[in-house]
Amino acid sequence: MAIRDTLKKLTEAYGPSGEEENVRSMIRDMLNDQVDQIFEDNLGNLFAIRKGQKLKVMVSAHMDEIGVIVTHIDENGFLRIAPVGGISPRLLIGQRLRFNNELIGTVYHEKLKELKELDWPKIYLDIGADDLETAKKLVKIGDLACLDQPFKEQREGRYLAKAMDDRAGCAILVEVINRLPAELPHEVCFVFSVQEELGLRGAKTAAYRYEPDFGLAVDVTTVGDTPKAATMEVSLGKGPAIKVKDNSVLCHPLIRRFMVDVAEKNKIPFQYEVLTRGGTDAGAIHLSREGVPSGALSIPCRYVHTASEIVDKSDLDYAVLLLEKMLLSSWPQMEEINLR
């Protein structure tokens, strides 16, 4: 399957944090016989292992997306909702939300004096129910919903969709798994993690269980190439980003150097990412047990955490290539790590 089709399928799937089941089974189908071992853990992380010699590398991309959760149903059938992950109530007004049973609702707000008052308690979800009884047949307290927007190719090589964060990462992992040769220098565990948007929760337990020697997260990053954006030297279409820092991790210098070496050797364009907010799975992996030297490969993405996240195909292709080449290379030795 071309990466465009994988990405379309994955981004359109329903999978807010805590309910990643659809995405998980989709990925399982895509991998079928490509890995040596595949299993899930208590929290729902999907582990796909390619056996190899020597060291253990964990590569993680998260399956979950931001969404909302139903906290109350009133007598007229309107729902009250709370955020699941970092989602802004302002961006939800007029948006359609989709439940796992395909039910669609739209978000609006109570009468406001000023737009400033707009906050979670002031907004509601209209699911077309006229009363409590009807609404209760359609949804339950605790049901989740995700944004409802189709995948679009804006122009050739420019993709627009919800949940690029981090189905783009998932698609890259799937693509790489399908391209890897029979023999690998190291064992690789691909983890499709859960609940990243709620604080890297899946990656934490996954890393504890797998006990890797190295960690790598594949996730999206914000960019600085839009009008009056925050200062950041990452642009769309200039290659994948090698993360230096975000709020969850200072990437291990040796892993960073290793990534740069592989990119340069294979003439892969890349950018350095210094993200002043947000985190990624590497934040949890690198603090697991006695510490796991970790890095992160990021896909430049505009409008992260909205219904219309944009990525560029060339960034995806180069990310696939870089990850593939990394997994075919020798990772830094522990003695070098000690001399960092």
């Binding site: 030297e233 200072l250 350095y272 006695e290 510490g291 790590i337 001399l339």
Partner: protein
């Protein structure tokens, strides 16, 4: 080791750069001292430095005491090279943007280059703007290079440290400089290791210089898990008495180290440290901390099945600026207290501690 040695050590440690995530230079300086006073120095998987001073106990009776101080300091990281050659940056650790304009900095690129944090001249600002503090996003670093040359030396992701040299003040009792948070703690560990040469101790004493404390106690999380000590004391700084601050949250310089009490600490260990101080006539202050101590002690206490943990802090004025100030006597007293505690710990002492 005497106080003059300690002054030299602290001056050196304050001078070296060691911003969170790029602690190498600081670690090398620290290592050279631990090589002198301990049996074995190594780095763990995370990069924390662990210096072991072996105790007399037999292998069967082996116990480990961890004394931990973070070696990293606050600083910044390059986020962009502007076309005109100025560098934009983001803080590493908790910086007050109001102390930044006019600071000397060192950018750690392929080579270290000097620079200054610039700001628009007051002449060119409206009265309104002059009344506001300048946010970090609006500040920049001037290195005197043009953008093209800069790009060959430095780039996005390089760390930036402050260029302040420490000085010993006239009365020879006080030192001022950058990064005394927490090179003071590291100096205390070194002094303690030297003191222990003259004391007998059963326990293995592990001196840990932990990384990345200023960005979230990260080194301590992995060091505690990896080392699994039987007892831990974090050594850090606390707020010194400063005009304009709430005196219930500050401690007098020169009145001895502050010993933490509160939920973050094992109550009988906190108490034991106070008793040892009294026994050896070492002055101390009690620092009540109602919840998060903001130190490595927070990470150690809940590692694995829990570790009895305490906190010893050196009072420090103007924390997280480049003019931090401390009193040497507090450091000496703190180190001696640590040494006396370390020398006391045996298996039965540990059992006694846990009983109460």
């Amino acid at each position: 080791m005497n106080k003059e040695n300690l002054i030299d050590i602290l001056l050196e440690l304050s001078s070296v750069a060691g911003v969170s995530g790029n602690e190498t230079a600081a670690l090398e300086a620290v290592r050279s001292y631990f090589d002198l006073y301990t049996d074995e120095v190594k780095l763990d998987r995370f990069g924390n430095l662990i210096a072991l001073k072996k105790g007399e106990a037999s292998a069967a009776e082996k116990i480990t005491v961890a004394l931990v101080a973070h070696v990293d300091e606050i600083g910044a990281m390059v986020t962009k090279i502007e076309p005109a050659g100025f560098l934009r940056f983001t803080p590493l650790g908790g910086l007050d943007p109001r102390v930044l304009p006019g600071q000397r900095v060192v950018v750690h690129g392929k080579k270290a280059i000097e620079g200054v944090i610039g700001a628009t001249a007051p002449h060119h600002l409206s009265m309104q703007d002059r009344e506001k503090s300048i946010p970090v996003e609006k500040l920049f670093i001037d290195t005197g290079y043009d953008a093209d040359t800069l790009k060959t030396i430095t780039g996005v992701g390089d760390t930036i440290s402050f260029g302040q040299k420490p000085i010993l003040l006239k009365n020879r009792k006080m030192i001022t400089g950058k990064a005394l948070d927490n090179r003071a703690g590291i100096a205390a560990l070194i002094f303690c290791a030297a003191e222990l040469a003259g004391l007998r101790h059963q326990a293995d004493i592990c001196f840990i210089a932990s990384l990345q404390e200023e960005v979230g106690l990260r080194g301590a999380v992995t060091a505690a898990y990896g080392l699994k000590p039987n007892l831990a004391v974090a050594v850090d700084v606390t707020h010194g008495d400063t005009p304009g601050t709430d005196d219930k949250k500050t401690y007098k310089l020169g009145a001895g180290p502050a010993l933490g009490v509160g939920p973050n600490f094992h109550p009988s260990l906190s108490f034991a440290m106070q008793q040892i101080a009294q026994e050896f006539n070492l002055s101390y202050q009690v620092e009540p901390i109602p919840a998060h101590s903001g130190t490595d002690a927070w990470a150690f206490q809940v590692s694995r099945e829990g570790i009895p943990t305490a906190l010893l802090s050196i009072p420090l004025r103007y924390m997280h600026t480049t003019v931090e100030m401390l009193c040497l006597e507090d450091l000496v007293t703190g180190s001696r207290l640590l040494a006396r505690l370390a020398a006391k710990v045996t298996n039965s002492y540990l059992e006694e501690l846990k009983k109460c």
